[in-house]
Chain length 335, copies 2
């Protein structure tokens, strides 16, 4: 008689990124610090401040598009790390970059990459303070940004309450529009909106200074994915008004050039905008909005927090589920 | 007439890691902080302290041996980052880990990896305070350690003076012995010395408190490679006494099991010991050594700094060049 032993091995592709992170959280020893795994930054209490630390990586296969220049790779690496500092209301203290590059990489590629990284750091008021370079099979760039924020100005991902206003800085869909427009004859100049994102350092600081934000994160993964993440962390739901979304001007241009792409789909799901998504109590929203307006920063209410889980889109009075079409690692891709 | 245009492109494999780093240094904007690219850590001045930040990565192809367990990978990732904090005399504040894993990675692999990382952090008095997990082609683990040190206790790589004593903590060649012994029938238990290195946190703090160290780095790349790095940074030379090297007990065992491997070669070149290599003025060396001895820490003088470039080994009165047989990335490998 033949006996078959089937060993069931759970793999990351079965459980997905969020479950994997839950596994990690259960195992890790808690320090005296607040454990912020799952937030944009780790936060180390130092007197009246939190020291913010965040690490983000980009890989050739998943982040680097064939049209991206080495300068843009450098810019992008620093921008995505600074964006996490911005989302917590922090000021940057410095960035460390670790470059993994193949042996055949040209010297001029390295120089351009460094120039892009330096330009982004300097543009946002900081510098690259350390790093290393190592040989790898595929381009693997790792950045670590360090920042600082007063404890009472720190904007966590955790804290949104039912009836809070949901708001975003700036415009949505700019990166998505850039991605599609750069492929067209007339739209090449929009590639920067996708390849050279701006971390919202100034916006983050202004919001933090108001001390009215109940939860905050950056829109790196797109609006829908971000709302689903906040929903999990805060055990709340969201109602988003389609008509209130501040569409990027370039997104309004898109249908005339490329009619097959839905601008609202990009604004809701595409990601790469690096705007800040925040919740603010309804009593404090108008004053916060005005304070930012005075400094030239647009803050737009796009919906509200609800007491029950579920993310909905309200479109001309009709309420329907807003699906999570963002990107979760390990799980089969939805795009 | 046929014209041939030959474009000469310099690649990283032609210029090597150190020249590549020089290129980067020339481009980067200097902040108000001291720029420590090339040192073990970036150092951000905060009042009377430096905040230390270091990032190090391990890759499947270059760092992960087939016999290494997931637990050991986690331990190793945290240990190599903490070692850079130790080499600057710092106390750890926390570690952020960023795990790049293939989709087919099993859940139990992730759990073991996390347990190893957590165990190492906790063993050395700190915790993992943040991180993320992403899908990659090959295992790519990135750690960032943050630490703090008083400005007047900071131990830089820069500062060794001619006639200073060159000294090391602990024993040399332990990792090398572990690497060879684990391949033998009798020596499996020594694999830990290679796979689970101990960052010298306590040793680093004790040395820093003496305020006598003129330069310091960890021995991750082996003694010869480290001496060549200090030579470049400080424009000095070194004379090392072969007879003075504190050989690891397991290294002395090696010839009886595996006669083909030269113990001194491993102590001089193999790396992976993560002991600290320091220079101290001759007037202050004995007191420093005694202070460490009282706390059970071995500090051994192995040679002296010279005024002229050149790294030499003195063996039974004979002086010969000690070649750099350590590892430089991008250049054809010397092993």
């Amino acid at each position: 008689m033949l006996m078959l032993f089937v060993i069931l091995v759970k793999r990351l592709q079965d459980i997905g990124e969020r479950n994997a992170i839950q596994n990690i959280k259960k195992i890790l020893t808690k320090g005296k610090d607040i454990n912020r795994i799952g937030d944009d930054c780790a936060a180390i209490p130092i007197g009246k401040h939190y020291l913010l630390v965040t690490t983000d990586m980009i890989f050739q296969r998943t982040h680097i598009y064939p049209d991206m220049t080495p300068y843009q790779m450098g810019w992008f690496l620093i921008a995505i790390n600074l964006s996490d500092i911005a989302a917590k209301g922090g000021e940057p203290l410095g960035v460390v970059s670790y470059l993994g590059l193949p042996r055949i990489t040209s010297e001029s590629f390295l120089k351009q990459l460094t120039k892009g990284a330096d330009a982004c750091a300097v543009h946002f008021g900081t510098t690259i303070i350390g790093g290393d370079i190592k040989e790898t099979k595929e381009i693997t760039l790792c950045g670590t940004a360090v920042g600082i924020v007063k404890k009472d100005e720190f904007m966590s991902r955790i804290g949104g309450n039912p009836n809070d206003i949901v708001a975003v800085t700036g415009f949505l869909g700019k990166a998505g529009a850039g991605f599609y427009l750069m492929k067209t004859r007339k739209g090449k100049q929009y590639s920067k909106d996708f390849f050279e994102p701006f971390p919202r350092m100034n916006e983050g600081r202004l919001l933090a200074q108001q001390r009215t934000v109940t939860s905050s994160m950056d829109l790196s993964d797109g609006l829908s994915a971000s709302l689903y993440q906040l929903q999990e962390l805060n055990n709340v739901g969201f109602e988003i008004k389609k008509g209130a979304l501040p569409l990027a001007p370039s997104l309004r241009l898109l249908p005339t050039i490329l009619s097959s792409v839905d601008p609202y789909f990009l604004a809701l799901h595409f990601g790469g905008d690096y705007e800040l998504l925040v919740t603010i109590s309804p009593q404090k929203f108008q004053n916060t909005k005005k304070a930012l307006q005075k400094r030239g920063v647009l803050l737009t209410a796009i919906g509200r927090v609800t007491g029950k889980k579920g993310v909905f889109l309200i479109d001309e009075g009709q309420k329907k589920v807003l699906e999570n079409k963002g990107y979760e690692h390990f799980k089969p891709h939805q795009f």
